[in-house]
C-alpha cells in the first residue's frame, strides 16, 4: 500500500548567492534588468582552456568568523552559508545571535563538486610530497563537511541527505525534501544546493567543447554552449500546519515534483525531450494542475545545441499554445550545476511573488518552437504557478511546480 499524502508543503524562507548578487534582492534586480555576470575568470586557473570566461560570485561577508576561520572554509561553504542564513532568517528560524532556534533540523542538499578545490590541493600535495595541511584538505573536500559547517555555524544537528544527480540535483533535493514532509517523516526541511567554480569541472566542460566562447544564448539558433557559474540557493520547506502553528508567512507552496531518468546517453538528452516531458507531466499530476496553470517556466536552457532543442520539443508538447512565458536564467547567472535547480526554484518563487519575469537575454534568432514564449525585458504578469525544470548528466530530469500562497 502506498500513501499519496495531500499534506501541503509551504515555502517559508529562501535565499541565494549568485554571480549577479550577494543575495536574492541584488540578484533579482540585475536579472530583471537583463544583466549578465560573464567575466574573465580569476578565481580559478584557466590557462590552456579554450574558454576562459564564466560567472564568478563575489563572496559575501560572514558574521562571527575571523579571517583564519574564513580561510579554512571551502569556497562552496563561503557561498552556501550566507544563502542558508537568509533562508533561515526569513523563515523566522534564527535567534538574535544568528543561531538556529531549532536544535534539530533536517537537510536535503545538492552538489556535484563538493569542496573540489580542496581536493585538487590535496592531490597536488600528494604529487609534490607536501604533508602539511593535507588532513584539512581531505576533510574540507567532502560534501558532508560543507553540511557540517552549515550545522555548526547555525548551531543545529540533524539528518542530512546529499543528492548528487548532476545538474538536476537541486531540483531533486527540493523535491525529496517535499517528499519527506508529505510522507510525515519531517515537518521542516532546509533544502537547496551549492556549487563553487573549480578547475577540474571547468576544464571538463571546456574539453567537452560545451562552453560558449562568447555570450551564452539559450534558445537561440546560434547558441554555442553554456557559461559555467557558481552560487548557492537554499529554501525552508515545511508542512502548512507547521508554518501556521509557527505563525510564519508562507511565501508559496511546493506544489508538484516529477523526476525520471533518460537512459539514452550519458551526457545528451533524447532529442525529442520525452523524458523531460515525462518529468513535467509527473509534476503537473502531483500538483493536480493542468499545464495552463503554469504562467512561467524557468527552463534548464544551458545554451548547448542539444539541450535546448530537446527542451523546446518537450515544452511544445506539454504546454502547446497555453504556455505563457519562458526563459533560461543561465545566460545571466551561469550554469551552477548542483545549485542550479535550487537557485532557479527561488527565481520562480520571486517571479510568482513580484509578477516580474526574468527576460531571456542574448537572443538574436530564437528557436522557432519557443520563439513566441521567450520572455522579453520588463514583462509583468499575474500567475498561479511557475515551473522550474532541470536536466543533468546521467540523464537526470527534474521538474518542480511552485504555486502562490
Amino acid at each position: 500500500m502506498s500513501v499519496k499524502s495531500q499534506r501541503k508543503v509551504a515555502i517559508t524562507g529562501f535565499g541565494c548567492v549568485t554571480a549577479l548578487g550577494k543575495n536574492l534582492t541584488e540578484t533579482w534586480d540585475r536579472l530583471y534588468q537583463g544583466h549578465s555576470a560573464r567575466v574573465p575568470l580569476t578565481v580559478i586557473e584557466t590557462e590552456g582552456c579554450r574558454v576562459r570566461e564564466g560567472a564568478q560570485a563575489e563572496l559575501p561577508n560572514l558574521k562571527n568568523l575571523i579571517e583564519k576561520e574564513l580561510r579554512r572554509l571551502s569556497r562552496a561553504s563561503r557561498l552556501g552559508l550566507p544563502a542558508v542564513g537568509d533562508a533561515l532568517e526569513q523563515a523566522n528560524l534564527l535567534d538574535l545571535d544568528g543561531r538556529s532556534k531549532l536544535p534539530r533540523l533536517e537537510m536535503c542538499v545538492s552538489t556535484t563538486a563538493c569542496g573540489m578545490e580542496k581536493g585538487e590541493e590535496f592531490l597536488r600535495g600528494v604529487w609534490s610530497g607536501q604533508r602539511e595541511g593535507q588532513a584539512a584538505r581531505v576533510r574540507h573536500y567532502q560534501a558532508q563537511h560543507q553540511i557540517r559547517e552549515i550545522q555548526q555555524y547555525f548551531g543545529f544537528v540533524g539528518p542530512s541527505m546529499i543528492v548528487a544527480n548532476a545538474c538536476a540535483g537541486g531540483g531533486n533535493a527540493i523535491g525529496h525534501a517535499s517528499d519527506l514532509i508529505r510522507s510525515g517523516l519531517a515537518d521542516i526541511v532546509l533544502t537547496g544546493g551549492y556549487e563553487a567554480l573549480c578547475g577540474l569541472v571547468f576544464t571538463g566542460f571546456d574539453c567537452l567543447l560545451s562552453l560558449a566562447p562568447e555570450a551564452c544564448r539559450p534558445f537561440d539558433q546560434g547558441r554555442s554552449g553554456l557559461m559555467l557559474g557558481e552560487g548557492a540557493g537554499f529554501l525552508v520547506l515545511e508542512s502548512e500546519e507547521s508554518a501556521v502553528r509557527r505563525g510564519v508567512k508562507i511565501a508559496g507552496f511546493l506544489a508538484g515534483y516529477g523526476h525520471c531518468t533518460d537512459v539514452r546517453h550519458l551526457t545528451q538528452p533524447t532529442q525529442n525531450g520525452e523524458m523531460l516531458e515525462r518529468a513535467m507531466q509527473m509534476a503537473l499530476q502531483d500538483a493536480a494542475m493542468s499545464a495552463d496553470c503554469i504562467g512561467y517556466v524557468n527552463a534548464h536552457g544551458t545554451g548547448t545545441p542539444l539541450n535546448d532543442s530537446a527542451e523546446a520539443a518537450a515544452f511544445t508538447r506539454v504546454f502547446g499554445e497555453t504556455m505563457t512565458r519562458l526563459s533560461s536564467t543561465k545566460a545571466a547567472l551561469g550554469h551552477t550545476l548542483g545549485a542550479a535547480g535550487a537557485i532557479e526554484a527561488i527565481l520562480c518563487l520571486q517571479a510568482l511573488q513580484s509578477g516580474q519575469i526574468p527576460p531571456q537575454i542574448n537572443l538574436q534568432n530564437p528557436e522557432p518552437l519557443v520563439a513566441n514564449f521567450l520572455a522579453t525585458r520588463n514583462e509583468l504578469i499575474e500567475m498561479e504557478a511557475a515551473m522550474s525544470v532541470n536536466l543533468g548528466f546521467g540523464g537526470s530530469n527534474a521538474a518542480l511546480i511552485i504555486s502562490r500562497s
Partner: protein, 328 residues
C-alpha cells in the same frame, strides 16, 4: 514502514554473490600514491568474468571500476526476482568517494599534460551519478534514480529514501546500492586523516539489496531506519552514537560494524547488548559497500532463523550515524 528484503547482490574481494561474504577474502599489500607506505587492502578481482562480461554493454566499455561493481551487484539482486516489472523499480545508491579512479586520472592529466589535453571521454565518468546512469540503462530500470553522497552513514540515508519512495508509491521496488572503488591516493588521504591509527583495512566493492512492500515468506525485513545523528567532533560523536543506540531494545543483537576511531565509542554505546562479531571480510572498511554487506549478512542470518531481530549500525566517520533494525 516495514519493508521486505527481497534479494541481494555482492561484489567483494571474497568474490561474487552473498556467499562470498563468508569465504576467504583476497588481500594484497599496496603502496600509497606517495610511494612511502604499504597497506593491506582488500581488492576486487577486476579481471573476473563476472565483471568483464559487462564490457559488452556499450555504455560500460569505458566506465570506471565502480560502475562494474554496481552493475554486477544490482544484476544479482534483480535476477533473483525474474518477473519483476523493472519499469517500476527505483534505484538509490550511496557513495562515500564515488568515481575516485577517473577523477584522479582526469586531474592528473590536466595537471601534468596541460588543460588542453584533458580527455572528453574521461570527464563525464568522473561525475557522481554516471555509474548509476550506466546501471539503469543497461538493466532496463525505469523508476526514480538518486545518487547520494556522504560518509558511510549515507547507506542508512539511502534506505530512508527507499522507504519514502515505497511509502509514496513512487516505485514498487527499490534497489539500494552501496559501492566504492579503490585508488592508492585513498591511502594517502586516510593516512592524512589519521584513520590508520586504529588498524583500519581498506577495501572496495559493492552490495545491493532489493526492497519491496510485499511479505516474503521466511525472508528478512527492514523494520525501521533511524538516521541523522549528526556530529562535528569526537565529543559530539559520542553523544550521537549513544542516541543512535537508544531505541535499540536491550535484547536485540547488534552487528559489529564500527571501524577506526568509532570502535570504542560504538562498544560503549552498544553496552551489554549481544554483539554479532564480524566475519573475516566484514572487518574491511569499504564505506557504503561495507554497510550493504553488513545489511545483507543480517538478512541472511534472519532468514536462516539465527536471530529474531538484528540492529545494523552505520557509524559514519565524519558526518552522522544511523541504524537499521532488521527482523524476520
Amino acid at each position: 514502514m516495514k519493508l521486505s528484503i527481497v534479494s541481494s547482490g555482492v561484489v567483494c574481494s571474497g568474490g561474487f554473490g552473498s556467499d562470498a561474504l563468508f569465504g576467504k577474502w583476497a588481500e594484497a599489500n599496496v603502496s600509497n600514491a606517495t610511494g612511502n607506505r604499504e597497506h593491506r587492502v582488500f581488492l576486487v578481482n577486476r579481471e573476473a568474468g563476472e565483471l568483464r562480461r559487462w564490457e559488452k554493454e556499450a555504455r560500460l566499455r569505458r566506465a570506471s571500476p565502480i560502475s562494474y561493481y554496481l552493475i554486477e551487484a544490482a544484476n544479482q539482486a534483480l535476477e533473483q526476482v525474474p518477473h519483476l516489472d523493472r519499469k517500476r523499480v527505483g534505484v538509490v545508491s550511496a557513495f562515500f568517494l564515488g568515481c575516485l579512479v577517473y577523477t584522479i586520472r582526469f586531474f592528473h592529466q590536466i595537471t601534468e599534460e596541460g588543460r588542453r589535453s584533458a580527455s572528453p571521454i574521461i570527464f563525464p565518468e568522473t561525475v557522481f551519478n554516471s555509474p548509476l546512469s550506466h546501471v539503469v540503462s543497461a538493466l532496463g530500470i525505469g523508476g526514480p534514480v538518486y545518487s547520494q553522497v556522504g560518509d558511510t552513514s549515507c547507506w542508512s540515508n539511502a534506505l530512508r529514501t527507499a522507504q519514502v519512495w515505497l511509502m509514496r508509491g513512487t516505485a514498487d521496488h527499490v534497489l539500494v546500492l552501496g559501492a566504492e572503488e579503490f585508488d592508492p591516493h585513498q591511502l594517502d588521504a586516510f593516512h592524512a586523516g589519521g584513520l590508520f591509527r586504529q588498524s583500519l583495512c581498506v577495501g572496495e566493492g559493492a552490495g545491493a539489496i532489493l526492497l519491496g512492500r510485499e511479505e516474503v515468506e521466511g525472508g528478512a525485513s527492514l523494520l525501521e531506519v533511524n538516521d541523522g545523528f549528526s556530529f562535528g567532533d569526537k565529543k559530539q560523536a559520542a553523544r550521537a552514537v549513544q542516541r543512535c543506540m537508544e531505541n535499540v531494545p536491550l535484547d536485540c543483537a547488534v552487528m559489529d560494524t564500527a571501524s577506526g576511531w568509532m570502535r570504542p565509542l560504538a562498544a560503549h554505546a552498544i553496552g551489554n547488548r549481544r554483539i554479532l562479531l564480524h566475519v573475516e571480510g566484514l572487518s574491511v572498511e569499504a564505506s557504503t559497500a561495507s554497510c550493504a554487506w553488513n545489511t545483507i549478512r543480517a538478512a541472511i542470518m534472519l532468514a536462516k532463523g539465527d536471530e529474531e531481530k538484528i540492529a545494523v549500525p552505520f557509524w559514519g566517520l565524519s558526518q552522522q550515524c544511523g541504524i537499521a533494525l532488521c527482523g524476520r
